[in-house]
Symmetry: C2
Subunit: 174 residues, 2 copies
């Protein structure tokens, strides 16, 4: 599957139920949120600026999109989970199933992050992001056009210690 | 990966944290349990009897094993979650990454169930079980030798309606 198809299937509003397994504490955190995924024009100034920040030719940007979320956690009900990020796929020249994914902020940290994606033969989108002292791995797949599942993990930099593993079921609202 | 390797990696005791997403109700159920996976001899009478029940030549059984679990749910704390099942892989003659998996009882129902497994190139074990009015799909993969993740889904028989999706993180105890 090409990245274009995966992004097209993802566009819309989703109701997300996320369970976060804090493995060291055997503790389950619940996050309820609403997620919006909107297409951006390739010549959107924010897309061009993000490409330039990474020294990537903006014409390589393929179906960029914006993801916004708003939700709450049962861990800390006073903490507002709200934010948005711009994501810009840069496929490999000869293989749109693999490439880079530029983001203006990461999920796990608030500094800019560069990630690599690969879409497996069964349609699973796998995203790997390396941070200074940790890495994140995310798998996303569609069960049907209206149900998306997502498994995320934060690993320590050695790759063997996993601190959290989370699972989201995302149901299309519109 | 051949089924032999996958079963060998799975043997042992695991502490499991499972979050069950009841999608229609947007409700999250938490199940804590301990799982034991033990190898069985191919000539174990229960293995032979299970093969015969499905009219399968017992000599085709490959690394059969027994899975036992004991745990509790936050949904109904009075309900005891305890049980065990015998699982018998029957690989395809020319491809040990695919085959049938015989079980004496299913996860979702208490009647005998036949399932098909496939181990994907990235090592993910995918199990599909068809019941009378529903089907179950399960994906299991190892993050490292001591952490196993598992995503399960129950679908209605048409295959598009998903009633529950669950996520387990399983940490090796021994």
């Amino acid at each position: 599957m090409a990245i274009q198809e995966f992004v097209a299937k993802s566009l819309g509003s989703w109701r997300s139920l996320r369970s976060v397994h804090h493995l060291a504490f055997n503790y389950l955190e619940q996050v309820n949120s609403e997620i919006q995924i909107q297409a951006l024009a390739p010549d959107n100034p924010a897309v061009i600026s993000l490409c330039q920040q990474y020294n990537i030719e903006p014409s390589l940007a393929t179906c960029p999109f914006k993801m916004s979320w708003e939700g709450e956690s049962d861990w800390d009900e006073n903490q507002e989970l709200k934010g948005s990020t711009i994501l810009v796929p840069i496929p490999e020249p000869d293989n749109p199933s693999r490439g880079k994914l530029l983001r203006d902020t990461g999920y796990a940290e608030t500094i800019p992050a560069i990630a690599h994606y690969e879409i497996l033969p069964d349609g699973t989108f796998v995203l790997t992001t390396k941070y200074d002292r940790a890495s994140a791995e995310e798998k996303i797949w569609f069960v049907n056009p209206n149900l998306r599942l997502r498994v995320s993990m934060i690993k320590t930099s050695e790759g063997r210690g996993v601190t959290t593993a989370s699972f989201s079921s995302e149901i299309r609202i519109s």
